[in-house]
C-alpha cells in the first residue's frame, strides 16, 4: 500500500489531471474558479473543455451560488479557489444554497493550512475544516498525497451531495503506491502498528507523522499511525476507538487549528465512547504569519522533528 520509493509531487497537479480524466468520462462535470485557475490547476480542465469551464472572476460568493444553480440542472460542478476564500468568505452561500438543498456541488480548495507560506495569515486557512465540518450534509475529505488526491476526487464525483476537499499548496512526498492503495472512505488507513500511542492525522502532515513515528521507534516508542482522510462523516471512529483501547493515548496532528478539525472530531468520538487522553497538535488558537513553508511547519511544531520532540517529551512526562 505504501510507496517504496518516495517522490515529491503536487497534489494540485493531481487535481487538475484527474479533472481532465473525469471530464472525458462524464459530460455533466463542469468546473468553476475565481481567478486562481493556474494555482488551483483547474486551468487544465479549462484547456481541455473550455465550454464547461466558468471563470467567475474574483467573486467567490457568486461562484458558489452559480455552482448551486448548475447542480440544480444535473451538472456536477467542481468549484475551486484557495481554502480561505472558498470557505470563510462564502460560508452563508455554502450553508444555505448548497448544503441546505443538498446540491451536488464539489468544493475543492487548495492552499489549506499554514503552508500557504509567505502570503501570511490573510491567506492561511486554519479554520476551514472546522467551518465545513459543522454544516449538516457536508462531506469533508483531507487527502494526503498525489495518488490519494486522484482517488478522492473520483470518489467525490461519484457520491451525491456536497463535498469539501482540502488540498495543500505544498508539493508532497508520495506516501501511497498508485497500484496498491485503494481509498476506502469507511476506514482509517493503518500506516503502522504500535502499542504505546495512537497518532491520528491526515493531509500534508501524514508524511511528517510517518517520519516522526520512525524516530519514535528508534527510541523505543511504538506508535500506531492512523491516516483519516474522511473527517466527515467520521466513519473511521470505530478504528480510532479500537486503536485507543490498545494504546490508551491518542495524539492528533493536523495542519489546521486545534479547534474544530480532526483533533476535535477524535475527541468527540472518544469522549462519548472511550474517554482517553488526547493531545491535539495543530495550530493553537492563533493566526498564522508569513514565512517559508518549511520554516512555518517548524514554527508551528508540525515538522517531523518538532513532532518527535513534542510527542516523546509528552510520553516521557506521562
Amino acid at each position: 500500500m505504501l510507496k517504496k520509493t518516495t517522490e515529491i509531487k503536487s497534489p494540485r497537479n493531481a487535481y487538475g489531471e484527474v479533472l481532465v480524466e473525469l471530464g472525458a468520462q462524464n459530460k455533466n462535470i463542469v468546473v468553476l474558479d475565481a481567478d486562481l485557475s493556474c494555482s488551483t490547476q483547474t486551468c487544465q480542465f479549462h484547456k481541455a473543455y473550455p465550454e464547461r469551464f466558468f471563470n467567475c472572476g474574483i467573486a467567490e460568493q457568486d461562484m458558489m451560488c452559480t455552482a448551486a444553480g448548475l447542480a440544480c440542472e444535473g451538472k456536477i460542478p467542481f468549484v475551486s479557489t484557495f481554502a480561505m476564500f472558498a470557505t470563510a468568505r462564502c460560508l452563508d452561500q455554502i450553508r444555505n444554497s448548497i448544503c441546505y438543498p443538498k446540491l451536488n456541488v464539489k468544493i475543492v480548495a487548495t492552499h489549506g493550512g499554514v503552508t500557504v507560506g509567505e502570503d501570511g495569515a490573510s491567506h492561511q486557512a486554519l479554520e476551514d475544516i472546522s467551518y465545513m465540518r459543522s454544516i449538516p450534509d457536508m462531506t469533508v475529505i483531507v487527502p494526503a498525497d498525489y495518488n490519494e488526491v486522484k482517488q478522492v476526487i473520483k470518489y467525490a464525483s461519484e457520491i451525491h451531495g456536497p463535498v469539501y476537499v482540502r488540498l495543500a499548496r505544498t508539493n508532497l512526498k508520495t506516501v501511497f503506491d498508485e497500484e496498491k492503495y485503494v481509498f476506502n472512505p469507511e476506514r482509517a488507513v493503518k500506516i503502522c502498528e504500535g502499542s504505546d500511542v495512537t497518532i491520528v492525522t491526515n493531509g500534508e502532515t501524514l508524511s511528517e507523522v510517518i517520519s516522526c513515528s520512525q524516530m519514535l521507534g528508534e527510541n523505543g516508542i511504538k506508535a500506531e499511525v492512523l491516516h483519516v482522510p474522511l473527517v466527515k462523516p467520521f466513519f473511521a471512529a470505530s478504528d480510532i476507538i479500537e486503536s485507543a483501547k490498545k494504546t490508551g493515548l491518542v495524539i492528533t496532528v493536523e495542519n489546521h487549528s486545534v479547534i474544530g478539525g480532526l483533533g476535535s472530531a477524535v475527541c468527540e468520538v472518544l469522549s462519548a465512547n472511550l474517554p482517553t487522553r488526547v493531545l491535539r497538535i495543530g495550530t493553537p488558537d492563533c493566526f498564522g504569519q508569513s514565512g517559508e513553508q518549511r520554516a512555518l511547519m517548524e514554527f508551528f511544531g508540525l515538522s517531523d522533528k518538532k513532532l518527535y520532540e513534542r510527542i516523546s517529551r509528552y510520553i516521557n512526562k506521562k
Partner: protein
C-alpha cells in the same frame, strides 16, 4: 385575474395570521408579479415532477425568500398542491417552511432561498446549465429592492451579462421599504435603472400592480438578446390600507381584529 389575486392576498393574510409570524408587506407587494408569471408567462406543469414535460418548464426562483407566503399561495391557487396545506405555513413539520426549501419536496419550489442576495446567482447557474443543455426554457427570479444592497447581487449581474444570459429575466419588487425604513434613506439604490443598464441589462420599468404592463414587459424580455430586468414599482402591503407603505408590516402578523378588517377590505 382580479379574483385570483384577491384569493392570493386573502390566503397570505390568513397564513401569516395562522402562523402568528411572517412577512405580509413584501408578500402583498409582489402578488401581481407572481400572478402574471404563473398565469400568463411561464410554462410550469401543475403536476410538477410527474409531468413528462417537467424538464421543459420555465424556472422560477424567489430570491426574496421572505415573500414565501405569496409564492405558496400562488402555487396552491394554481393547483400545485392542496389549498388546505397553506394553513400549515410555518408550523412544525410543514412543507411550507418560513422561507422556501427544496428539502421537503413541495411542488413548485426550485431552490431554497431566504438568505438574501443568493437567488440571482443560482438563477444564473441554472440559466448557464440550460444553455449548455440546449434547453430553451427561461429563468425568472424575483428580488426585493432592499435585497439589491447585497454585494453578491452585483457579482451576479456581472456574471449574467458576461455570459449573455438572454434566457434570464429578473424582476425587482421595488416597494421602496425595508425593515428599518425607506430604502432611499437606509442605503439608496438610485439610479437603479441606470445601474442595471450599466451592468449590461435591458431594463423596463413598470407599475408592478398593473398586469397588462407586467405582461408586456415579460413578453418584450423574450425579444431581448440581453439579460432582462423589470423594475416593478409596487406598494408594500398592497391591498390592506393600514399595511400599505408602512415598514412596520414588513415582518409582523395581523391579530384577529386586524385580520378581520383586512379581509373585509379585500372583499369590498
Amino acid at each position: 385575474m382580479k379574483d385570483f389575486n384577491n384569493s392570493v392576498r386573502r390566503d397570505i393574510l390568513k397564513m401569516i395570521h395562522g402562523a402568528k409570524s411572517g412577512h405580509p408587506g413584501g408578500s402583498l407587494s409582489c402578488v401581481e408579479i407572481l400572478s402574471v408569471l404563473y398565469n400568463k408567462i411561464m410554462f410550469v406543469p401543475r403536476d410538477w415532477k410527474k409531468s413528462p414535460d417537467f424538464d421543459k418548464r420555465d424556472r422560477f426562483i424567489l430570491s426574496k425568500g421572505h415573500a414565501s407566503a405569496a409564492l405558496y399561495s400562488v402555487l396552491a391557487n394554481c393547483g400545485f398542491f392542496a389549498h388546505e396545506e397553506l394553513m400549515t405555513f410555518r408550523h412544525l413539520g410543514s412543507r411550507l417552511q418560513g422561507h422556501p426549501s427544496t428539502r421537503l419536496g413541495l411542488e413548485g419550489i426550485e431552490v431554497s432561498t431566504g438568505s438574501l442576495g443568493q437567488g440571482l446567482s443560482i438563477a444564473c447557474g441554472i440559466a448557464l446549465a440550460l444553455k449548455l443543455n440546449n434547453n430553451p426554457a427561461y429563468v425568472y427570479t424575483l428580488l426585493g429592492d432592499g435585497e439589491m444592497q447585497e454585494g453578491s447581487v452585483w457579482e451576479a449581474l456581472m456574471n449574467a451579462s458576461h455570459h449573455k444570459l438572454n434566457n434570464l429575466v429578473i424582476v425587482i419588487d421595488k416597494n421602496r421599504l425595508q425593515i428599518d425604513g425607506d430604502t432611499d434613506r437606509v442605503k439608496s439604490l438610485e439610479p437603479l435603472d441606470k445601474k442595471l443598464e450599466a451592468f449590461g441589462f435591458e431594463v423596463k420599468e413598470v407599475d408592478g400592480h398593473n398586469e397588462d404592463m407586467l405582461e408586456k414587459a415579460f413578453l418584450s424580455a423574450k425579444e431581448s438578446d440581453k439579460p432582462f430586468a423589470i423594475i416593478a414599482n409596487t406598494v408594500k402591503g398592497k391591498g390592506v390600507s393600514y399595511m400599505e407603505n408602512n415598514p412596520g408590516w414588513h415582518g409582523k402578523a395581523p391579530n384577529d381584529n386586524e385580520l378581520t378588517v383586512a379581509l373585509e377590505e379585500l372583499n369590498a
